[in-house]
């Protein structure tokens, strides 16, 4: 197995607190108006497509209800998160981490190969045939890096009225501001689901070795 690049590790560990702060302060912001709508406008609970449950204080930042403080945390962490994401994409393309380890090959998309990979996962066999990651791993990392994380930034940008003059096309593309807000919420919970599975997989595949490798990079690179 190849070492984790320094840029990957730096991004991973710096992004973690950002994502945690963004998620927990986001729950406070959700509590401020816990209804979601589709389209450009929406303000009446009876027209909402989803009434979101209220999140208790122990799940939120700050640990009490303050929309003002939650917004301060959210828009602070958003900057670091977005810049880090830009950094890791440049690094992944430059050091070929994306092309070599994450991009899937046509062979992996063969139904039989997918079925075999699913079967192996169901049997808790997570071996990687040769490459750094197996197919499902590539797929989930690709989805997180290529869709969920940039999607959080794009839907977040679409929410700011100060961005609307130049980015009105983005709001329209997302189906209107309230649709962007709904998508922001859905993507956040999709990331939460990834987080749970990601941590579970680390626990199942030798947590100490995995943690060590993600911090130090892992054993020296051999001729891969």
């Amino acid at each position: 197995m190849n070492r984790h690049a320094f840029s990957t590790r730096l991004w991973h560990w710096l992004s973690l607190p950002c994502v945690v702060v963004l998620f927990m302060s986001g729950l406070t912001i959700s509590n401020a108006h816990p209804w979601l709508y589709w389209g450009e406008w929406g303000f009446a609970p009876e027209t909402a497509w989803l009434a979101v449950p209220g999140f208790p204080d122990w799940m939120t930042i700050p640990g009490y209800y303050s929309l003002a403080a939650a917004r301060a945390w959210h828009i602070f962490a958003a900057w670091l998160f977005a810049l880090l994401l830009l950094f890791v994409w440049i690094a992944m393309l430059a050091n070929r981490h994306f092309a070599r380890d994450i991009a899937t090959t046509r062979r992996e998309w063969a139904p039989r190969a997918i079925a075999a990979d699913l079967r192996a996962h169901a049997g808790f066999d997570f071996a990687h045939a040769g490459g750094k990651y197996n197919f499902l791993q590539k797929l989930s990392y690709g989805l997180v890096l290529g869709v969920l994380l940039p999607g959080m930034v794009a839907t977040g940008i679409a929410l700011g009225p100060g961005m609307a003059p130049s980015f009105g096309w983005l709001v329209e593309l997302l189906g209107g501001r309230q649709s962007a807000r709904s998508l922001h919420f859905i993507l956040a919970w999709a990331l939460f689901a990834f987080f749970v599975v990601h941590v579970a997989m680390v626990m199942l595949t030798g947590p100490w070795r995995q943690m060590r490798d993600m911090i130090t990079g892992g054993e020296p690179r051999d001729a891969a």
Partner: protein, 245 residues
């Protein structure tokens, strides 16, 4: 088991840490700094006179929600409602050469701008309405701003939790073409819940910047010493002064 208690402890210390950071002076400065980065970035990406999206009549929401003060009980506001705002006056003062006072009829006689825009509340909801009124820049030009003026403060008639509402913007937003003193919503005089008889429209910022029940426009050099010194009713309670995000 040990792992779970470790996670719980990590979560609790993260929360405690966040609270401690937010309560320290340096932490507050850091968090508030992000607001300035957003303002700088948004203004770099959106030219000073770029317009917020405008919509068609078909896009107008069936109701325009009222929020915050929706029927002020303080002062003589209810008397003004009873007289249909016949004695309402709007003053333009502070750092200007010619302080002015307008009646509603005088404001309606000025050149008007009508715009159908989306209103985004800090809580997360949005509504679309058609607003009509003179541009703020017109009033400021008539009063001749002095060179020392850097901010425009909006004085309001409504009290929230015992404090008079107020707001402020800088000259860039004050001179924006869509910054108007609205007296009409969807072709009719403003309803009380939406700020009758006058409210500001600051289309590139969140709803709390759009001061309602407007009585005065004041040019100032600094926001210190006005209200709590943070530039607005909600700003004094921790919200961002720049509300483009």
């Amino acid at each position: 088991m040990r792992r779970r208690s470790f996670l719980a402890a990590a979560g609790a210390s993260l929360l405690a840490g966040c609270n401690r950071v937010a309560e320290s002076a340096r932490g507050q400065r850091l968090l508030r700094g992000a607001e300035d980065w957003h303002r700088t970035a948004q203004r770099f990406l959106n030219p000073p006179r770029a317009l917020a999206p405008e919509f068609t009549r078909a896009d107008i929401s069936p109701v325009f929600r009222g929020n915050g003060s929706i029927n002020p009980a303080n002062g003589d506001y209810q008397a003004h409602v009873g007289e249909n705002f016949a004695r309402w006056r709007l003053t333009v003062g502070g750092l200007v050469q010619h302080p002015l006072t307008f009646t509603l009829a005088e404001l309606r006689a000025l050149p008007q701008r009508t715009q159908i825009t989306r209103h985004d509340c800090v809580e997360g909801w949005s509504a679309i309405g058609e607003w009509t009124g003179p541009q703020l820049s017109l009033l400021l030009d008539a009063a001749w701003l002095l060179p020392a003026a850097r901010y425009i403060v909006f004085r309001c008639a409504d009290e929230l939790n015992g404090a008079l509402y107020y707001e402020s913007i800088d000259l860039l937003d004050a001179r924006h073409p869509q910054t108007i003193v609205a007296h009409a919503l969807n072709g009719r005089p403003l309803p009380v819940k939406n700020g009758a008889p006058l409210r500001m429209r600051i289309e590139r910022q969140l709803g709390y910047k759009h001061a309602k029940y407007l009585t005065g426009i004041e040019a100032v050099a600094s926001l210190d010493g006005i209200g709590g010194g943070q530039g607005g009713y909600w700003e004094d309670r921790g919200y961002q002064w720049y509300a483009g995000i």
